[in-house]
C-alpha cells in the first residue's frame, strides 16, 4: 500500500497532544511544521484541531466572565472526591473492575459474620456454648511439680477471667482481671504427683456476659522418680 493511501488509525494519535501547543503558538517552528504536515495527512487530528480551535475561540470570547463569582478555595475532601469522580468519568471502563474490587472487599468484610467460625465449648458436662476461644499458655503439658501460676492470652480490655481447676471434680476456682494468676499454696499442696488435672478459663465482659471460653486443658504432675 502506498504511504498516501494508508488508513488512519482509530486509536488516539500521538500528535493529538500537540494540538493545544500548536493553537496557542507554543511549539517551536520545527514542531509546528511537523504537526502541520501531519494534519494534512490525518483527518482525525484535523477534526480535533478544528474542535479545539472553536473551543479556544469560545473561551477567548467569554474571557474573565468564565470565572466570575468562582470561590477560589474549596474543602480539600470535597475536591478529592470530585477528582476521583472525574477520574472515573474519564475512564468509564475502570468502573467494571472497580465494582468487582468493591464487591470483593464487601464480601471479605462480611464473610466472618456469615460463617459460624466460633468454636463450641463444653462448660459443665452437658452445657455447650459457642464463643470465642481463650488461648491457654501454661501449664498445657505435663509438669514435674505442681504449677505456681496459670497463664492465658489477653482477650480484651475490661474483661474478668474465671479460672477453674479440676481433678475429678472442681478443685479450685477464682476470678481475676489479669491474664495470670497464682494458685494459693493450700490448693497447690493438694495437687499430687501422678494425678491428672485440667483447667479452663472463661472470660466475662463488664456486664457479666460470658464472651469467651478456653478449651479444657489437661496436664499431669509427673510421678517423682
Amino acid at each position: 500500500m502506498k504511504r498516501w493511501a494508508r488508513r488512519i488509525p482509530m486509536s488516539k494519535c500521538r500528535f493529538e497532544e500537540l494540538i493545544d501547543g500548536y493553537l496557542l503558538n507554543k511549539l517551536d517552528s520545527e514542531e509546528a511544521e511537523r504537526f502541520e504536515e501531519h494534519f494534512f495527512n490525518c483527518s482525525r487530528c484535523f477534526s480535533r484541531l478544528q474542535e479545539r480551535e472553536a473551543l479556544i475561540q469560545a473561551i477567548k470570547a467569554q474571557g474573565p466572565a468564565l470565572v466570575q463569582g468562582i470561590e477560589p478555595s474549596r474543602p480539600k475532601v470535597l475536591s478529592w472526591a470530585e477528582d476521583v469522580w472525574t477520574k472515573l468519568a474519564l475512564r468509564p471502563w475502570i468502573l467494571a473492575p472497580a465494582a468487582a474490587a468493591l464487591f470483593l472487599v464487601v464480601v471479605l468484610i462480611f464473610q466472618p459474620f456469615t460463617k459460624e467460625k466460633m468454636p463450641t465449648f463444653v462448660l459443665n458436662g452437658d452445657n455447650v456454648i459457642r464463643g470465642q476461644a481463650v488461648s491457654l499458655i501454661s501449664p498445657i503439658i505435663d509438669v514435674s511439680t505442681p504449677p505456681l501460676f496459670f497463664e492465658w492470652k489477653k482477650q480484651g480490655e475490661n474483661i474478668e477471667y474465671k479460672i477453674s481447676v479440676y481433678n475429678s471434680q472442681l478443685l479450685w476456682t477464682a476470678t481475676t482481671r489479669e491474664t495470670r494468676i497464682q494458685i494459693p499454696e493450700e490448693i497447690r499442696q493438694k495437687m499430687v504427683p501422678g494425678e491428672r488435672y485440667s483447667w479452663q478459663v472463661k472470660a466475662y465482659a463488664a456486664n457479666g456476659v460470658l464472651i469467651a471460653v478456653s478449651s479444657r486443658v489437661q496436664f499431669m504432675i509427673k510421678p517423682q522418680q
Binding site: R3, E37, F40, S47, L49, A54, L55, L66, I70
Partner: protein
C-alpha cells in the same frame, strides 16, 4: 510512476483538502488577512494542475504533497504581506458566506452554554490554560493542584465540550473512493 486522476477523484481531493488548506492559511496569515480565500483557491488550483500534469508521483503522501504546496504559497504571501501591511490591516473580517456565519454563531452559542454548565473547577482551569495561556505547571501552582490533577480536569472538560463540537467537525474518512482506487 505518475497516475492520471479522473475529474471525480480531483473533486473529492479538493473537497477533502479545502478545509485543511484553509485552516493552515488562516493560521499562518491570520484570520484578518483580506485575501486568504484567494490564497486557498490558488493553492488548490496548483494542486489540481500538478496532479493533472503528473507531478505527483506518490513519493510522499498526498497530504504531504499538498502541505508542501500550501507552505510555499504561505511563505510567498508573508513576503508580500510585509510590503503591503498597512493596506491589509484596514480590512476587518473575511468574507465568509451567510450560511457559514450562521453555523459559526450557533456553534459559539452551544459551546458557551456548555462551558457555563461545567463546574467552576473546570472553568477556572480552561480560563487559566486557554485564556491566560498559562502552562499546566503554572495552572497547577496557581490553584494549588498537582499537574496531574490539572491535566485530568482539562482532559475531562475537553471531552465534555468535544461532544458538543464534534458534529460541526466530522472526521472525514480517509478511505474516500478516489484513494481506495489509487491503492492499486
Amino acid at each position: 510512476m505518475s497516475k492520471q486522476f479522473s475529474s471525480q477523484e480531483l473533486e473529492e481531493i479538493i473537497r477533502r483538502y479545502r478545509p485543511v488548506v484553509g485552516f493552515s492559511v488562516k493560521k499562518a496569515l491570520g484570520p484578518n488577512y483580506p485575501d486568504w480565500e484567494d490564497v486557498v483557491q490558488d493553492v488548490l488550483t496548483q494542486v489540481i494542475t500538478k496532479l493533472q500534469t503528473g507531478e505527483f508521483r506518490g513519493e510522499c503522501s498526498l497530504g504531504t504533497f499538498i502541505y508542501t504546496i500550501t507552505k510555499r504559497r504561505i511563505v510567498d504571501c508573508i513576503r508580500q504581506k510585509s510590503k503591503v501591511k498597512v493596506e491589509m490591516t484596514e480590512v476587518a473580517t473575511s468574507a465568509s458566506g451567510p450560511e457559514e456565519s450562521l453555523m459559526k454563531k450557533e456553534r459559539a452559542e452551544l459551546v458557551s452554554r456548555a462551558l457555563f454548565k461545567l463546574k467552576p473547577k473546570f472553568r477556572e482551569i480552561l480560563y487559566l490554560y486557554y485564556y491566560k495561556e498559562l502552562s499546566r505547571e503554572e495552572v497547577a501552582a496557581r490553584l494549588g493542584l498537582s499537574e496531574r490533577q490539572v491535566s485530568e480536569r482539562l482532559y475531562y472538560a475537553q471531552k465534555v465540550l468535544s461532544k458538543v463540537l464534534r458534529r460541526f467537525f466530522p472526521e472525514k474518512n480517509s478511505n474516500f473512493s478516489s484513494e481506495r482506487r489509487l491503492k492499486e
